[in-house]
Symmetry: C2
Subunit: 243 residues, 2 copies
Amino acid sequence: MNKEKTMNNNQHTNCCHHDNCSGNNESCVAIVPIFNHLEKSQMEEIMGVTHSVAYKKGEVIYSAGDQADSLYIVNMGRVRIYRLSEAGKEQLLRILKPGDFTGELALFNETLHEAYASAMVDTSICTVKRLDLQDLLLKYPSISLKVMAEFSRRLERAERQTTRLATEKVDTRIALFLAECLEVGSMNNEITLPMSKKDLASYLGTTPETISRKLYELETLGYIRLISNKKIQIIDLDSLLLI
Amino acid sequence: MNKEKTMNNNQHTNCCHHDNCSGNNESCVAIVPIFNHLEKSQMEEIMGVTHSVAYKKGEVIYSAGDQADSLYIVNMGRVRIYRLSEAGKEQLLRILKPGDFTGELALFNETLHEAYASAMVDTSICTVKRLDLQDLLLKYPSISLKVMAEFSRRLERAERQTTRLATEKVDTRIALFLAECLEVGSMNNEITLPMSKKDLASYLGTTPETISRKLYELETLGYIRLISNKKIQIIDLDSLLLI
DNA sequence: TTAAATCTTTGATGTAAATCAAGTTTTGAA
DNA sequence: TTCAAAACTTGATTTACATCAAAGATTTAA
């Protein structure tokens, strides 16, 4: 069951247990939307309270049940956020890219994490301690506005996903997902799946077998073309969305 | 209640499209968690920018596609927030009680509403305009902390629900729901369903028929006892959660 | 109070998608 | 580069649940 054969449970309480420590803080603060609108001097102040930590591919960043006391901002790499069902089945919730953050839930509520976060590739992360963050938010209210904007976006997405899982058939969920991949930006309607089909299945609340079959079916219908494992060309978006 | 009788209407500019207008602002600001921790003088300032509106049972408060420009705080009554699937199927997302708020999503993001809000019973609501709210948040950063705490709680719930819909069978989802109803507080393990079974079905991503059958099944197993339409006694919580 | 509308239950039937199993392909670490 | 471990595909089978239909409840409004 336990796929993370992590060497040791490293508690990154402070900085610098890992390699790339200091200095990186700068880039981190500068790239995240919640901070990068501030004055240079303010950013420098923030750098003072951030800690940079590096995680190897597969390493766990936090687990459900952990006491949450930091905000985690992805500086480089990719982080998967997932939950486990009662039966231990994994469900992928989202994938963080540089500039995204997590850990905030418990930060404001003194609760434990309910989700897991692990590094999908070698990843560097900046952390800000609960109390430091609260100070920052009180001192620079505009940060709060950014954080709230991000929260509300996430909330919107989470509720949209909830509705899809509750009301749409698998075909439709796949079609909607493909359409969203397309939106982002793509050469001649060609998309690259941002995750493995196993993960996609988990994200969409289905199984890899079903994903495989449905994609084949969509190709048969002439709506898409399967180019390679991760590449798909959308041929008829309108029909796709009418499924 | 009844404090409105003693009040005269001032300080609200474009209030009074509906009946019960003045005076209620006070109770509204005083009861919501995002404001009620403030100083009296600060609350009074906030009252100055809130508008009280009454909705009759069934009235729509906002619809998907509407431009969102206000925060809605429930003062009295009950509000259902729901979405429509691509096929027009309704999905209940949550039910707001006095003190809860909605409309915030688009408030920080200049987007349109994606959900619908309608009054389940006669309801009175306080609204705060986008710009007024932003001023308040910048002026009183502690309000932001409250709002973020509420957001993160909602996010947690939304993601939990997503995971349940994606990974659990209907039995389990029902069992988990019943268990949550129990938590809140209940005499001798007796719970009162907070919504119709039709709504519950929608919330849990299933159908009323299935709800009906599964509840009967749970009774047969001896885990619960169906007292009346809306009342259920939980007999064996542990077994219920092991389904 | 009564009738209409809405919700709920129960039964019969259909089906989408999960599961199981066994190959094939891709990936990544040594 | 090679080889083992994952990930992916395809087929056969099972099943959980939706759908349809029609009879009881309950709620609502006149």
